[in-house]
């Protein structure tokens, strides 16, 4: 039992960055094709991060080392907790802690761009947090447990009972994956007003750590999406993988189609979707079951 857990954690630790980097590469390729460009090689994200780790690190203060380290450590920790079959709510709380570390790293720089990005990041967290908690509650109401292992050990897929919650989660994942129209705290384009928002003052291996943590996080988030599909049946595994890939592609498509919106629109939409789709779904579930 213990060995199984250790094995799962090790598997996550080793495989997640490759999967996350690959997804990132595919994302860039797909986006490029949508925009009529050739796009970088699929392995480009790995080259980028490799290079980042070999550059001289330029920092604005010493506190950043600790804060970025905290972000990385708790992102990875959250993933380990999740893939070891642990408590879903606790995973989300650990994820919030990680996010707060990144936010603090941006604030500590005392730079106009990263401060602005940090404030926007907080609004982003505030926007998606209710939906994530509600999703965990919905999964709990279906499976009777907050533990990931119990959630996937059911006879039927949770999505059948939680379509509204699933939609809400995919909606807020656009924010979580930092995609347009909700990528207000960090944009990938140099000419835009935020420079690079949250990560303006991070460089070299620190920026590399943030990228790496982002990959771990992406895998965690897709793993969370898979929870809605996975059940005891073997066929649920390919179905879950396909669902995750389809959702990811959808998010990339949305990224390329919609222009960025203001923070208040993002907050309003995210909370409205949470209330209408998530809230109604949970309400019906509470009444019926």
């Amino acid at each position: 039992m213990v060995w199984q857990t250790v094995l799962r954690i090790l598997l996550f630790l080793i495989c997640a960055p490759f999967a996350g980097g690959l997804l990132d590469g595919l994302d860039r390729k797909a986006s490029a094709r949508m925009q009529g460009r050739q796009g970088p090689p699929v392995l480009q994200p790995f080259y980028d991060v490799w290079k980042l780790f070999h550059k001289q690190t330029i920092v604005v203060n010493r506190l950043q080392d600790f804060l970025v380290g905290g972000y990385f450590a708790f992102s990875v920790f959250t993933g380990c907790l999740f893939f070891a079959g642990g408590d879903l709510l606790l995973s989300f709380f650990a994820l919030t802690l990680a996010e707060v570390f990144l936010f603090m790293a941006a604030c500590s720089a005392n730079s106009p761009y990263s401060s602005m990005g940090a404030q926007r990041e907080l609004i982003q967290i505030m926007s998606y947090e209710p939906m994530l908690l509600l999703a965990a509650i919905g999964l709990y109401m279906v499976s009777g447990s907050f533990f990931v292992d119990d959630m996937v050990g059911r006879g039927a897929s949770a999505i059948a009972l939680l379509p509204g919650v699933f939609f809400g989660v995919v909606f807020v994942f656009v924010i979580k994956f930092r995609k347009s129209p909700f990528d207000i705290s960090s944009s990938h384009h140099a000419h835009q007003e935020m420079v690079k928002g949250l990560t303006t003052e991070l460089s070299g291996s620190e920026l590399g750590l943030v990228e790496l943590a982002g990959w771990y996080e992406d895998v965690l988030l897709l793993g969370f999406l898979a929870l809605f599909v996975l059940n005891r049946g073997v066929w649920s595994i390919p179905a879950a993988v396909l669902t995750c890939l389809a959702c990811y592609f959808l998010i990339v498509l949305v990224d390329n189609v919609f222009p960025r919106v203001r923070w208040d629109k993002m907050l309003g939409w995210a909370w409205a979707v949470t209330l209408i789709f998530g809230g109604a779904n949970v309400l019906i579930l509470a009444l019926v079951r």
Binding site: T57, D65, A94, T96, F103, Y113, F146, A286
Partner: protein, 639 residues
């Protein structure tokens, strides 16, 4: 028994002595320190005693002479309210005070009171409250010694009434102990009224116009709650023939909720005013004009907890009843609305006040649900909140005395200027909303309880409220950790006594993450078995506790690891990026006319979305309407 009597009476004795010590100085400081230490020792002794004996006990069944003393005390309090009411021409408080004291007095004097019941009792809930009042309260008294010196040094315009201040603090402690030990409703009501009046007097401490106005607002709202309490006593005695809170609960459990619905609703109403739930949150926000120790002691750690304490006591009666619905809706709504309101505030104490109202709302909602897991969460929230919030208040007070402002914007870069205070505030803020710290554990349990009781409305209030809670704490945290170049470290003017209090509370916030399973098993679970007569399973599983301890260790070890990893690395320190127009540091830039301009980084307050003028009034109207309707339905349906 001796220790119970000591805890109630000794603070009053200390208060009398302190009111006579007119001269500030070492003698008075020493007296405050030693009284506080004695109270802490007595509380620890009581805890050990009750836990080793492992059962609750009750005292004083025949108390004719003491009852008369209490009655005289009630008249004294009424006289005090009359005096201030006439002096400041606030006649409504006179009316409110007369309307509640006279009927209760008539009932006692005409011999209609119920005799021969238990007046004082000690169980685990009492001990929990004693720990909060004794430990946190005494620490705040210790802190107050140094704080008040600086307060009067900074505010020459206010008259130095420190003897009065200290004696009121101790009167208040005595009243709080009296309140939690009392089983008799009349006694509880008497101490309840003392705390209201202490709060009134302490809010008006600096005698400024605004302080007087706010103190009367606090007084009338608390007296209104007192009126509810008095009516509940009358109903219990005259109709039900019980005069003891435990008897009331037993009666309700035996005879069904409907029989006790009227007094329970009235008591809940009293509790809602005391705990500053909407629509009564105004008095707590106004109370922030008082010196910080008052805010920490009365308006966040202890007095406002009296309301939720009462709710926890009657929580078995709230389960599934109309009054329970009243309490949970008001509490849940308050949690959500107050956390939204905190977003637009930049005054540190105002944020703390809104956050207190919000957290009290959560405790209220938990108590109103009335399931054992919800009450577990309520008791733990009560403890964690007292510790973390008083730490926040005390450090804001210390910062205010050091930099002359308590505005969050002025705390920019505090980690450079006052690193020690910035550190304890960071711990305090982490303690308020992040895993693996106390408040989050209790919130988590609350969430589970809400889900298990299928109250979707509460779930929604909780998840959305958590979102905005994160926003206002996060913003504050960001200000603290900004590392500004070329700014000087300020001299540490915080007194030793203040550091003792702040340091102990910081240690408690951290220790409670590790100790809470023991606290739960030793203190809270036995109490719940007593209240709900069911054996229960652990609410937070062992596996989760282990994970959280791992997280705590990671936070502690991380700075060391990062220091080791980055030592000897070739990283270069540069000023922040400002589109290439820095003026040599990270605080000035060249503007479009080629002149240097200083930069100012402000947090977002989003006044046009979350401002008080946008949200406060609608929430007050909604909650007042809800409260009125639900009270009419509950009481009207039962009568």
């Amino acid at each position: 028994m001796t220790v119970v009597a000591f805890l109630i009476l000794f603070p009053f004795f200390a208060a009398i002595v302190l009111s006579q010590m007119k001269k500030p100085g070492r003698v008075r400081d020493g007296f405050v320190y030693s009284c506080s230490a004695l109270i802490i020792a007595a509380v620890v002794y009581l805890t050990a005693d009750v836990l080793t004996a492992g059962r609750s006990r009750s005292y004083l069944t025949d108390t004719r002479s003491l009852d008369q003393a209490i009655l005289a005390g009630e008249f004294l309090l009424m006289a005090l309210v009359f005096y201030y009411g006439f002096r400041f021409r606030k006649y409504y408080v006179v009316l409110l005070s007369a309307a509640q004291t006279l009927p209760v007095a008539w009932m006692e004097l005409s011999g209609r009171g119920v005799e021969g019941q238990v007046h004082l009792s000690v169980d685990n809930l009492t001990v929990t409250m004693c720990l909060v009042v004794g430990l946190v309260g005494s620490l705040i008294c210790i802190y107050a010694v140094g704080y008040l010196k600086d307060y009067h040094a900074h505010h020459k315009e206010y008259r130095d009434r420190s003897p009065f201040f200290f004696s009121m603090l101790f009167v208040f402690l005595g009243a709080m102990f009296g309140l939690v030990f009392s089983a008799s409703l009349t006694w509880m009501y008497f101490f309840w009224e003392i705390t209201s009046i202490c709060s009134f007097l302490l809010i008006g401490y600096n005698e400024s116009k605004i302080a007087v106005r706010n103190s009367f607002r606090a007084l009338w709202m608390n007296l209104l709650g007192g009126l509810g309490f008095a009516l509940a006593i009358l109903y219990c005695t005259l109709v039900l023939g019980v005069a003891n809170i435990q008897d009331l609960v037993n009666l309700g459990m035996a005879a069904g909720g409907k029989a006790v619905l009227v007094p329970v609703t009235l008591l809940a109403f009293a509790a809602l005013t005391k705990s500053a739930q909407m629509p009564f949150c105004g008095w707590l926000l106004g109370a922030m004009v008082a010196p910080t120790p008052t805010s920490a002691l009365l308006h966040s750690a202890t007095m406002v907890k009296a309301g939720v304490y009462l709710l926890i006591r009657i929580s078995p009666l709230l389960y599934g009843s109309l009054s329970g619905i009243l309490v949970t809706s008001i509490g849940g709504f308050t949690f959500f609305a107050a956390s939204l309101l905190a977003v637009s505030q930049s005054d540190g104490k105002k944020v703390l006040a809104y956050s207190t109202v919000s957290n009290l709302g959560l405790i209220t909602a938990c108590a109103g649900v009335g399931l054992y897991e919800a009450v577990w969460a309520a008791i733990l929230l009560l403890m964690f909140h007292a510790v973390s919030k008083s730490l926040m208040f005390l450090s804001v007070g210390a910062v205010e005395n050091s930099i002359g402002s308590r505005n969050i914007e002025d705390m920019h870069g505090l980690i450079v200027r006052l690193p020690k205070l910035a550190f304890v505030m960071t711990v305090g803020i982490f303690g308020m909303f992040l895993a693996p710290f106390g408040m989050l554990i209790a919130k988590w349990a609350a969430l589970k309880a809400f889900v298990d009781s299928r109250s979707v409305l509460l779930i929604l209030f909780l998840v959305f409220g958590s979102g905005s809670t994160l926003l206002y704490w996060g913003k504050w945290l960001g200000k603290l950790v900004a590392v500004t170049h070329q700014s000087e470290r300020l001299p540490d003017t915080v007194h030793k006594g203040e550091w003792t209090a702040i340091g102990t509370l910081t240690a408690l916030v951290i220790l409670l993450c590790v100790l809470f399973p023991a606290l739960s098993a030793g203190l809270v679970q036995p109490q719940l078995v007593l209240m709900f007569h069911t054996r229960l399973t652990a609410i937070i599983s062992d596996a989760d506790v282990k994970v959280m301890i791992m997280m705590l260790c990671m936070i502690v070890i991380l700075p060391l690891v990062m220091r080791l990893l980055t030592s000897g690395s070739r990283s270069k320190v540069v000023p922040a990026y400002m589109a290439g127009v820095n003026e040599g540091d990270d605080r000035h830039f060249v503007d479009s006319r080629g002149r240097p301009k200083s930069m100012y980084l402000a947090n977002w307050y989003m006044e046009d979305r979350f401002g008080e003028n946008k949200i406060l009034k609608p929430s007050l109207v909604v909650s007042a309407a809800g409260l009125t309707v639900l009270m009419i339905v509950a009481i009207g349906g039962a009568l």
